[in-house]
Structures are given as structure tokens and as C-alpha cells.
Symmetry: C2
Subunit: 154 residues, 2 copies
Amino acid sequence: MGTPDAAPPSLIALSTYLLSRTGKAARGGLAERLAARGLRLWHMAVLAALADFGPHVQRELAGRLSMDPSDVAKVVDELAVAGQVDRARDAADRRRVAVSLTPAGRAVLAELEEEARKFQDELFAPLSQDERARLHEMLHKVYTHLLHPTHPSP
Amino acid sequence: MGTPDAAPPSLIALSTYLLSRTGKAARGGLAERLAARGLRLWHMAVLAALADFGPHVQRELAGRLSMDPSDVAKVVDELAVAGQVDRARDAADRRRVAVSLTPAGRAVLAELEEEARKFQDELFAPLSQDERARLHEMLHKVYTHLLHPTHPSP
DNA sequence: ACCTATAGTAGGTGCACACCCACTATTGGA
DNA sequence: TCCAATAGTGGGTGTGCACCTACTATAGGT
């Protein structure tokens, strides 16, 4: 009797816990759709960076996405094999490799974004449009604060 | 020139992405404090469940926390070794093991919750108290919806 | 007494992520 | 011309999580 499958209230009371849970669901949902194309989250991040900022040298991608250069190499390699990005040696500095989006890559990214939006609609189903906007704004603030911690410790 | 380390706007525009990122930070922050005590997230979840609902049989823990029974066994075992829970064979049904919180376990949980709140304060630093409350409420709605999907698929 | 279902447990798998080191090719300055 | 720094790469490590498969002990119905 009762509801033996209810989560512990003292966890529910922690926003951190809810954030971590819902965040995992968000991540999982995205990952699932990406996996259907043999991609992972970093692949999408790289495609998005290229779409938003144009061609990058791999080092720049690593910096922008805060990932390890050697992991960038692997992700870019996989995207290149799949024909979603082009790699071109920089003529001026032959150590550098310019990575750019192919039309195929751009198309895939558009599809992924569309799917992400659909998934988001399901995930945020219980929220009104207005709430979703406010949630986004708040998450954005938190996210920005993550990257640029203003108060080291009060 | 420029800000070569800015994240791609098309990702930032996805609440799912922000949620996944901030969620990971939340998870990471909690995990970090837990790791200082040799614990992981599941340990805290189990402690919280015991604190909130009293002694559980392991199957109940598995159900309540949506985790695999065999993983429950491991987590409970580790908590028992650390003296934070007691395991007692049910006299009536000797297959069952009643898991209950020890005073030590309760104390650890209280500390963990306190640390979680402090961490939360840092994480949510850019949000007003009012915003935090609204964020919590929205996350709770999303979380509840996660567990009880109302619309299988529209 | 027997047979099936159940609770707990041991052990192992696969994945994603975050690192790290070593090595090559190449550059640019001393 | 030589050396130190840099870009890219290949390979490997450890961790956490989710999941799965036996296997043992026990219970409870028939």
C-alpha cells in the first residue's frame, strides 16, 4: 500500500538533484537520436560550432567546446568519414587542419536540431510556452555563470 | 579579436542542451562532494530513501529508485561496510534483507544535504531567490512528467 | 514433497566521457 | 641551421553508469 515507488522527498527538495535528473534525461534523449545516426553529443557540438562560426582549426574547436584536442581529432575524423565535414591542410601552416561543414553536414545538423526541438517539446510538455522561455533564460544564466564564475566563494 | 571560446549559439538556443550542461555540472558537483567520502550518487539516494521512508527491503529500494536490484546490493553492501546502514534478515521471510539507516548514516546524509545546499547556492548564484523557487518548481514538473509520461506520443 | 517464483548476490559487459602520454610533422625564432 | 614550441594523431587509462546472466537460499501454493 502507499506509493512504494515514490522518490525520496529529501532528494526532490534539492534543485541540484532535479537538475541532474532532468539533465540526464535531456542528455539521454539527445544522445538517443544522435545514436540513430551513429553520432554522439560531441559530433553535434562540432557541427553546430562549424555552422555558427564557420571553418575552424581543430585547436579552436577544442578551445571553444572545452574538449581535449585528441578527442577533437577523433570526432572530426568520424565526421569526415561520414562526409559531414571536410578537412583541409592549411597551405600557409601545414600543421593546421581547417575543418569545414559540408552541405551534407549542414543538412544533418538541421535534422538533428529539428529532432532536438521535438524531443524538447515532449520533455517540457508540462510547461507552458511562457514557462519554457523563463526556464531557458534561467538555465542560460546558470550556464553562463558556470563558464565565468563571478563569485569564487562568497 | 572576437571570442573564440564562445559556445555555438545554435546549441545555446536549445534548452535541452543547457539542461544537459547544467545538469552535468549539478551531477558533477554533487558527485565531487560525495567522492570526498568515497561515495557516489546512488549512495546518497539510498540514504535519502531510508531517511524519508524508513527501512526498506532491497527490492523496494530498487523499485523506488529505479535501479537494478543487483546494483542495489552493491551499493547497500558498500554502505554497510562503511557503517551507514544496517542489514538484517527478515525473520519471517529469510530471503528478505531489511536495510535501515544507522545514526552514522543519518549524520552523513545530513552533512551531504548541507553540502548540496551550499553547492546549489554557488551554482544558482546568478538567480534570485524567487527565480530559484520557480526553477525548482518547473524542474519538478518536468521530473514528474519524466516518471509518468502523460502523452506517449502525440 | 515438489515446483515455481522470488530476494539477494556475484560477476561480467558495453558505453560514454574525460583524461593523459608519446610521437610525427611543421613552424618560427635564436 | 638548429631548437623549442605547436597542431594533429594514435593509443591507452580510469570512472561511472546501466544492464544482464547465472546462481543460491528461501517461501508458499498445490
